[in-house]
Symmetry: C2
Amino acid sequence: MEEMSIRARIVKALGETNEAEFAQIIEGIHPADMAEVLETFVAEERSAFFEKIDPELAADILVEFDEEERGELVSTYSTEEIAQELVGNMDSDDAADMLSELPEDMTKEVLSQVEDVEQAKKIAQLLTHEEDTAGALMATELVVVNQSLTAIRCVAAMRSQAEHIDRVHAVYVVDDNDILVGTLSLKKLLTAQRTAPISELYRPIEHTVLSTTPAEEVANMMQKYDLFVIPVVNAAGELLGRITLDDVVDFIREEAERDYQLASGLTDEVESDDSVYEVTRARIPWLLIGLFGGLIVALIIGKNEEDIQLVPALAFFMPLIAAMAGNVGVQSSAIVVQALASDRKENNMIQKLTKELAVGLFNGLILSLVMFGAGLLLGYDQLITLTVSTSLLTVIVFASLFGTFIPLMLDRFKVDAALATGPFITTANDVIGLIIYFQIGRLIIGY
Amino acid sequence: MEEMSIRARIVKALGETNEAEFAQIIEGIHPADMAEVLETFVAEERSAFFEKIDPELAADILVEFDEEERGELVSTYSTEEIAQELVGNMDSDDAADMLSELPEDMTKEVLSQVEDVEQAKKIAQLLTHEEDTAGALMATELVVVNQSLTAIRCVAAMRSQAEHIDRVHAVYVVDDNDILVGTLSLKKLLTAQRTAPISELYRPIEHTVLSTTPAEEVANMMQKYDLFVIPVVNAAGELLGRITLDDVVDFIREEAERDYQLASGLTDEVESDDSVYEVTRARIPWLLIGLFGGLIVALIIGKNEEDIQLVPALAFFMPLIAAMAGNVGVQSSAIVVQALASDRKENNMIQKLTKELAVGLFNGLILSLVMFGAGLLLGYDQLITLTVSTSLLTVIVFASLFGTFIPLMLDRFKVDAALATGPFITTANDVIGLIIYFQIGRLIIGY
């Protein structure tokens, strides 16, 4: 039994009709492992498995599912089942996550059928927060004590609250107006006198975020200060919820994957186990942009056809100029995008562009000198070599500035700067690079 | 006072000669914030600041520093100062991190001067672990109790151990042979009878890692199971240390930044506030590869100069073919690299290549049809249009397979697959793409 893989155990369980046997086969498998295996099953098998397990386990597994597969599966449940079996067994933030993927009227119906009215209200509240804000990340399951309690009464209060909560991340202390004032360490509580008031034991709160704080800022803050949990408050300082580091880890990973995919020319969240159709859908948009750019490049070269017929060697270096312009542009954008993501905004735009100008000139000089030497060494015509080297310098400086400017502008207009690192900037640089090349050729060779 | 920025306060403190005043100005600033500001100072100012603060604060700030600046600063200390003032005030993992950046003989000297011999041994042990393994990430500060203790004696044991530890992440339970058997929740301990034995209270351990487990695997595991802390054991099951989620977050971010930079053609960890020289050094290698590739492309086109003179329009589409080959290759590699990073290795190489072949054919057909339509619409010669469309299909299929194959091969030979997404694959695809283009042109146009 120990030797069987999780997949084999779940497949075996699926074929088992005896309830007790079934339960025994899957006992001890972590819900995250079950989710991983079940995601690879077809919809019918998945549903068959969920019909056999109890609602609490179903809820635990669903929390671990990919959004897409979860939506598919949940839509096979009735609103009543969702309300009682799934939502009733989930933390408020997980329930809100799940419901946010359903149609709005279905969500309403589900919430009206949730037994615990307080929980329904909390979830409804969570659903109002914008995506990728602290409010959307937080959970509302909290252990909260009033600062006027004594240590011994506090322990009793905590015990009753903790009963409904899987894992206690922090004990929050509030004043009589429900304003968050601090946290209480269990270490302190363990060593305190029984009659000591909490107001003398708690540690004043150092870091909080508002429900409207962007998730990226929350992630940066928790990473910087090594926080495992951070309280979310409203503008008045009332405690609304808490965000734990594991939720932030998921966010950081997703963001990083998205940026990486944008830089590689992929839209959507595409994974290696997605279908051929899904992978194609994620790839085709960027390729169409690239094709479109290529056609513009073809038109530009066509307009300079006479130059190429007079000096055919000019054509040899077109791909080189285009490729270098694209590479430099992507490098410059990537540095800006990373600076924006990690909140290192210490320099203003003018400073950034000035520095990039220096880097571009420096890079450009080195590369065009190498190019000039290589060109002469390979026996190309001197004027051609001079044209290519000069163009290279000009194009590199231009692409550096352009690659820095575009993401900064996008960010200023609240568009995701990472978009700039995709094929868009490469294509634009290709086109402009070749225009520069032909102009300089005309100046130097003088045809 | 509240209104002054942290930077302004630190600058003000630097000018203050009165010790008490100095302490008052910087009171309450988080060490991470101090580190952030101090990193932007010149070395002399930084050293001046560190001379004024007490060793404990200095250690806290240094832990938050970038490696490079930390190495610079620490090397101005004597080995005795490092041993007593810095190492003495750090957790074992942070101390090992700091010492790993010093020359080996200096590290030895420091360790021989550390007062707490047990700590020195622990650090020396930590320094033996390979980079990016669980052993290198773990800290050895632990709260450990024997399972034979009663609840009341356990609390006493915990209290005395916790005194030396900043933050208690978990209480580990071991048997008489020091083999890790479980963890103890404080909730359970709070509610237990005073004479209950720990063996009846602990939760059996579910997840452990070995000290040799790769950091990436640790990160994936902690994320999957939502763990805040994971114990590190040796092959016999003895408890060696623990890894907390905040350390893993740092690792995840660094890995993601590295992959992103490789995909954007940057080497080294380059940040927007690095000097012009540092940024250039990170960018030049990839650009030189690109230049080298461009020169090869020029040679190939030169070899086909007659073709171009006969059919000049052939030259128009060279950049398009090269760019598309590059784009498709990067897309394919990126998907593989991500799959490798997140441990989704469910398919073998043949399956991956077969699927990629399907995706390449699908993408290629769509794009070459679009190309064919656009070519005719724009009035290009039919044979030229046919050549470009056919080449596009061939090149896309080839680049898909090549882009999938290279990172898989690199991974098999234990080379970082992310390298494949840089300009290397773009350049290789440029070259091969154009060779294919001219061959197909020769076949179709028959010059």
